[in-house]
């Protein structure tokens, strides 16, 4: 009887451990949780890359905002460039598009923008303070903020498909 209990509980522990590890297959161990969805977007005041004027989040009150965190040295950021360009033009009247460059220097970014062009306002975050405030965990990341200044969600991956981007836009346009 004692033995059955021992063997039974050993098998139960094995089943538990195997189950826990098997559940791990479905998840990405590198995924970083993000809890700011549904919370007000943190305020910031940083300068524009093109004319050095200071820009605050509060300047765009009442409008949906898309913020894209990126850097010039990041390959995927360059890949998603056309999608963001397309979106910034398409939603020019409905939402504000902001790019925030972090973990980079001004000179690199200006050179990059001069060469590639960028159709929406680009801001510079010299010490990554805004990125830290926004809970950024990689690059590129795109934040969708509704017209009340509440973060709806963020996408922590580069965009490849314009239709995919449009679906995300829907969440803050309505």
């Amino acid at each position: 009887m004692k033995k059955q209990v021992a063997v039974g509980s050993a098998l139960a522990v094995i089943a538990l451990v195997v189950y826990i590890m098997a559940k791990g297959f479905g998840t990405d161990p590198h995924a970083v949780p993000f809890l700011l969805s549904g919370k007000p977007a943190p305020a910031f005041t940083i300068k524009r890359l093109d004319n050095d004027q200071l820009v605050s989040l509060a300047d765009f009150k009442g409008k949906p905002i898309v913020i894209n965190f990126w850097a010039t040295w990041c390959g995927p950021c360059q890949t998603e460039h056309p999608v963001l360009d397309w979106a910034a033009k398409k939603y020019a009247n409905d939402a504000v598009f902001l790019g925030i460059v972090f973990e980079d220097n001004e000179q690199n970014t200006k050179r990059f923008l001069a060469r590639n062009g960028w159709s929406f306002v680009q801001l510079f975050d010299p010490k990554s303070t805004v990125a830290v405030d926004y809970g950024v965990s990689g690059v590129p990341e795109t934040y969708f903020i509704d017209r009340h200044g509440i973060i709806n969600h963020k996408v922590a991956a580069p965009f490849v498909d314009p239709r995919e981007f449009a679906a995300h836009m829907e969440t803050i346009l309505k």
Binding site: G24, F25, T27
Partner: protein, 670 residues
């Protein structure tokens, strides 16, 4: 060509392993011993095929044969030759292929050494080991195949992971770790074979112990080298971060250590049988779980290989081995009943019991902490982190407990000790412990835990050294032998005991190094212009300016520095000795390599955080770590020495007094 040949050899190895496993287990269970020579040949065949397949891979790597998939993933014409060979195990598929070669070597050695053993002992043991070999050769042949041919081979490849070609330690650390991991297959085979056969006399015990000690030694070296590598390469000044992969190597080490202590009780008292054999089986299971952690992509780790689909295969294997082990213990449990009770806690056997409890608790803590984040996510969808602060907090009291037992255990005799004798024997060690802690306090060192650690370390050292020298002293008194002769003879009479105590000294050195370097490190950070100086502890670090250079596989920026210690002597750390940033083609982030000035009592460790090539400034992180080098420079040689003494084969007959001593042991005796 290479591709076909290499894959063919893998398939041949798989066939041999399947044959040995099926025939070995089937004939072993039905007790027909005649098949043994065939099983042995199949084992040799497996070993040969695996080793050859690895050699073909090395050849393909050296030839830059990019038509082989693995070579096209890790090879590069710019990589220096030594790192090209190392890239055999620098990525997932290659590391499993290499695993196969090591398994082949172990199985060959075991089969060969015991080739004259009777089949009743060997068939099931070899069969079980071959079954494990089947799993790994199946992995190499299927899910983790490095050999597929690429129709249009590229002209050049990306080269191995930059982190892995940053330091020569990476050349020896993984093979040591693999020798430790893979070697646990052998004690598993011995234990499972004995259980399957249902013969649990003492015959299996000696080989089981020795074949656990071999992988244990390699695992110890591998773990320490891994820490040393992290320390010398990663630049954050640490050597152990309780990362899942580090934990994975630590757990089987803990259970194997516990095993080697509990066998003593088993031999002496004929009790703890079930527990001891469970530890032997468990150590193997933990090596497989460790491999799973490293390679499944389920755990988040600095060291883990890239995502792969071998995880589920591995998990099924883990489940099978676990269920098999539990079933074996359940079916044969009646053979594992203790033949005697254990007496008082204050005795040798009592101290070993407590030692096993502490090791089991620490293993449990490490496993729990590593798996807990997965569990909370699976059951509560809650992502948590269990990191260094938790493990340190839990391991500290357990580690001090181990140190205490390491000191007390050897003093205690088996059975019931007499109080007076004990008190008499404990006076000197306890006194030394108190004096050591007091001296450290007087010298200005504060903190209860580190001082306790130093006191206990002194206590344990005095006990251990006395145990090492006492038999020799007796010989000197009684037989008028010279110290060295007496020491050697007494050691060779009881190699296991002598070797064990030498290993104890190695572990004490490591614990002292860990305690001192974590409790009394000094840290400074700052940005310097050329010629400027910053102070860390009683050392001055002067920045001598930036230098850049190019090596075949990387470019670098070195921040030349000069160090001045209390003695006033200036040490230059320029170019290859300077803290540097290395730039590899394959990596976006530069990889720093710190400058480590190693001295016996301290290391001065400077890493380059950042440089500004226009202004010519550089920012540094600088530390002084007391005694940190002991963890590798003192521990590794002592540990190897002790293990080799314990493993050194005993002569069959009582040796004649005049017989020549075995040279390696003679020279190595302290």
């Amino acid at each position: 060509m290479n591709s076909t040949l290499g894959y063919g050899l893998v398939l041949a190895g798989l066939l041999c392993a399947v044959f040995a496993a099926v025939v070995g287990i089937a004939t072993g269970l039905s007790r027909r011993e005649g098949a043994l020579p065939w099983v042995q040949r199949a084992m040799y065949g497996f070993a040969g095929a695996m080793v050859l397949s690895n050699l073909v891979m090395v050849k393909a790597l050296l030839e830059h044969d990019f038509s082989v998939k693995y070579v096209s993933q890790v090879g590069s014409r710019a990589t220096p030759t030594e790192y090209t060979i190392v890239s055999l195990w620098s990525s997932l598929e290659g590391s499993i292929l290499f695993w196969g070669a090591i398994m082949g070597l172990y199985l060959f050695a075991f089969t060969w050494i015991y080739r004259r053993e009777h089949g009743r002992y060997m068939l099931l043991t070899l069969g079980t080991m071959a079954a494990v070999a089947v799993f790994f050769s199946f992995l190499i042949a299927g899910p983790a195949n490095p050999w597929p041919a690429i129709p249009n081979p590229p002209a050049d490849g990306p080269g191995p992971n930059p982190l892995l070609q940053n330091h020569p330690l990476m050349i020896i650390h993984p093979p040591m770790l693999y020798l430790g991991y893979v070697g646990m297959t052998v004690p598993f085979g011995i234990a499972a074979g004995a259980l399957l056969r249902g013969e649990l006399g003492d015959a299996w015990l000696v080989p089981l112990r020795k074949w656990t000690l071999v992988p244990w030694m390699f695992l110890s070296i591998g773990i320490i080298l891994g820490g040393w590598w992290a320390y010398a390469v990663l630049g954050w000044g640490g050597y152990w971060a309780w990362d899942p992969v580090e934990n994975a190597s630590f757990m089987p080490w803990l259970t194997a250590t516990a095993f080697m202590h509990s066998t003593m009780v088993l031999e002496r008292k004929k009790s703890l049988k079930l527990w001891t054999i469970a530890l032997a089986l468990g150590s193997f299971v933990l090596t497989i779980i460790g491999t799973f952690m490293t390679r499944s992509g389920v755990f988040n780790s600095v060291h883990s290989f890239t995502q792969s689909d071998i995880g589920p295969t591995f998990l099924i294997f883990i489940a099978l081995v676990l269920v098999f082990s539990v079933a074996l213990l359940a079916v044969r449990g009646h053979l594992l009943v203790a033949e005697s009770h254990l007496g008082s806690i204050v005795s040798r056997e009592g101290s070993i019991l407590l030692n096993n409890l502490v090791f089991a608790a620490l293993t449990f803590v490490v496993l729990l902490g590593t798996v807990y984040p997965l569990a909370t996510e699976a059951f509560f969808a809650k992502k948590i982190t269990v990191g260094e602060p938790y493990f340190n907090q839990m391991a500290l009291p357990l580690g001090l407990g181990m140190l205490f037992l390491m000191g007390v255990g050897p003093v205690l005799p088996w059975g019931a000790p007499s109080k007076e004798l004990l008190q008499q024997q404990l006076v000197v060690p306890t006194g030394s412990g108190v004096v050591t802690a007091g001296t450290c306090f007087a010298a200005g060192y504060r903190g209860f835990m580190p001082l306790l650690a130093f006191g206990l370390a002194a206590f344990a050292t005095v006990v251990t050294v006395r145990e090492l020298f006492l038999p020799a002293k007796q010989r000197m008194d009684e037989q008028k032998e010279a110290l060295f002769t007496a020491l050697f003879r007494s050691a060779s009479r009881a190699r296991r005991r002598f070797g064990g105590y030498v290993v104890h000294l190695a572990i004490i050195a490591a614990i002292v190094g860990i305690a001192a370097s974590s409790a009394y490190k000094t840290h400074a950070t700052g940005t310097l212009r050329p010629g400027e100086t910053m102070t860390v502890g009683d050392w001055k670090v002067r920045f001598d300016g930036l230098a850049t250079g190019k090596e075949p596989h990387r470019e670098y920026v070195a921040a030349n520095i000069s160090l001045t210690g209390p003695s006033g002597v200036e040490i230059h750390r320029h170019e290859s000795l300077a803290p540097r940033m290395n730039f590899y083609e394959r990596s976006n982030d530069p990889i720093g390599s710190p400058s480590v000035s190693a001295m016996f009592l301290r290391d001065v460790y400077v890493s380059l955080l950042n440089f500004d090539s226009k202004a010519g400034t550089a920012s540094f992180n600088a530390w002084v770590f007391p005694l940190v080098g002991w963890i590798w420079y003192v521990t590794i040689p002592l540990l190897v020495l002790g293990s080799v003494i314990a493993l050194w084969p005993q002569r069959r007959q009582r040796p004649a007094e005049a017989s020549a001593p075995a040279p390696a042991v003679a020279q190595g005796s302290p």
